[in-house]
């Protein structure tokens, strides 16, 4: 895990991320429209506009440390509204993937939820909402979260205790393994 990026490394990484996203971050004139419409901005420590600014500067450390890349809901409001068609949402996503690969995590619970979700896919092929919520609550320590709704769900037949899984489990395992080898999409 190489945590500290020097200036040059940061600049190169920022360039690669922007290139993969098909974006020229120099075109951002810092108008802030992306931040204004962001539904999660109230909880961000780095506004979408500032994320783009950091990418312009190659200051990846600042982005990787932030909560924002984890709290981004991938709603694409920012990308839709940017007057320069800068795909902010995709940049946020690529930053999150890179941050993760480098061992950064600004928001543990979000990462934990996604990790458990991915594991349920690996083992069952389908997402198992009971297991997912249960495992997440135990692992995160948030035991009351949504659990009060579970008896109601069972009573109304909204949740069913039996499992629904993919038959060809090997096919799914193979997809997971092959894609985890890493690298961006060509």
């Amino acid at each position: 895990m190489d945590k500290i990026l020097n200036r040059e490394e940061g600049r190169l990484l920022a360039e690669r991320i922007a290139k993969e996203a098909g974006v020229n971050v120099r075109e951002c004139y810092q108008c802030g429209k992306c931040s204004a419409g962001c539904p999660m901005a109230d909880s961000f420590d780095l506004m979408p506009r500032q994320v783009i600014h950091c990418l312009q500067l190659g200051d990846m450390e600042e982005i990787f440390k932030s909560k924002s890349i984890w709290l981004c809901a991938s709603c694409h409001t920012c990308s839709e509204r940017c007057p320069h068609e800068i795909d902010v949402a995709t940049l946020m996503e690529k930053c999150r993937i890179e941050a993760q690969a480098k061992g950064y995590c600004g928001q543990e619970d979000v990462k934990l939820f996604n990790d458990i979700f991915t594991e349920t896919i690996r083992y069952f092929g389908k997402s198992q909402e009971v297991i997912l919520e249960g495992a997440y609550n135990v692992a995160s320590g948030h035991l009351v979260q949504d659990m009060e709704n579970v008896p109601k769900m069972l009573k109304k037949g909204i949740l069913r205790p039996e499992m629904n899984t993919v038959r060809d489990k090997d096919a799914i395992k193979k997809i997971m393994e092959k894609t985890e080898e890493g690298g961006a999409v060509k």
């Binding site: 993937i97 939820f113 060509k186």
Partner: protein, 322 residues
């Protein structure tokens, strides 16, 4: 041709019981032919694209490849906004780069041509033939019910994936709901985000998003919110009570799937539409509207001594509809 390859997605078999019941009722009524993709898997949802781009493309691609194999020539419909988005992304990526398409084929070890169109349920019910069939089957009116159509993010954005002409003010659901006689209102939060899975993993940060949606719907006079996605629906319906407590509000806005309103207008009972299975009470509100319209029609029919065109009265619990 009302034949489609069908990708139900994980929620349809668990939390989305009202969506499933009402959709099956409507599909049966109008004669929709659906062929479920054999042995389909989870689309990967938020988790996969949060972690790994290739995984996010390959998981949905396996489903599309299975569909191409088992249901050749058929377009794929899916009820979930997230599944729709993920399937459409894989299709978009493969159609735009032969290299990516081949790379995905190598990962899933299947032929993947990315030929079928990916349709969400709003696309499906916007098809002129499907719409016409729906119109023919209406036996109840929801006139007087003011509805806020909530589209959420992924059925509108990003535009290159959804093809939506007006991502800030989509109208497909409004046009579908109008068939039931209900009135759709103008409001500002049609495509605002519900927080998706952050309602579970970042509740403190995400709850305000739901409160704002209810607030805007209430301010614009909505009697109900209507959704077209299992997750959007659950985030609103399951958490309305909590939101009222948390923010000391008294929102009284039931949240329906659009297929529930279609089913009820086609004569479905409670069992068949699922409207008695909501977290936040919905049954009485809609039944009041039906009763009022029914009684008005009866009165009119009596006055004019002609046949009552609305054949069905209010919903009786425990009694099957037609």
């Amino acid at each position: 041709m009302m034949k489609y390859s069908y990708f139900p997605g994980c929620s349809m078999d668990s939390t989305a019981v009202t969506y499933k019941k009402s959709f099956e009722y409507v599909a049966d009524k109008i004669g929709l032919e659906l062929f479920e993709i054999p042995d389909w898997n989870c689309c990967g949802s938020t988790a996969a694209h949060t972690k790994n781009e290739k995984m996010a493309l390959a998981l949905p691609a396996r489903n599309i490849a299975l569909s191409e194999e088992a249901n050749p020539g058929l377009d794929i419909v899916t009820p979930c906004a997230a599944c729709y988005s993920r399937l459409a992304y894989s299709t978009y990526a493969a159609r735009n780069s032969e290299e990516t398409r081949k790379e995905i084929e190598d990962i899933i070890e299947m032929n993947f041509k990315a030929e079928p169109e990916i349709l969400n349920f709003l696309d499906l019910f916007s098809d002129p033939e499907v719409k016409e069939k729906c119109r023919e089957k209406m036996v109840r009116s929801l006139k007087g019910l003011k509805v806020a159509c909530y589209y959420g993010c992924l059925m509108s954005r990003p535009r290159k994936i959804t093809g939506e002409e007006n991502p800030e003010n989509p109208m497909k659901m409004d046009a579908i709901i109008e068939m039931t006689g209900a009135e759709t209102i103008e409001w500002d939060f049609k495509t605002e985000c519900c927080g998706a899975s952050h309602q579970v993993d970042a509740p403190k940060e995400a709850r305000p998003l739901i409160e704002k949606i209810f607030r805007n719907a209430a301010a614009n006079g909505a009697d109900a919110i209507v959704t077209a996605c299992p997750l959007c629906n659950m985030n609103l319906d399951m958490r309305e009570e909590e939101i009222n407590k948390l923010y000391s509000k008294k929102y009284n806005i039931p949240v329906f799937q659009f297929t529930e309103l279609l089913a009820v207008a086609m004569g479905a009972g409670a069992e068949q539409s699922g409207i008695h299975k909501h977290f936040f009470p919905a049954f009485d509100r809609i039944n009041e509207v039906i009763r009022a319209n029914w009684e008005e029609e009866k009165k009119k029919a009596k006055e004019e001594a002609k046949k009552n065109p609305l054949a069905d009265g209010p919903i009786v619990v425990g009694k099957a509809g037609k």
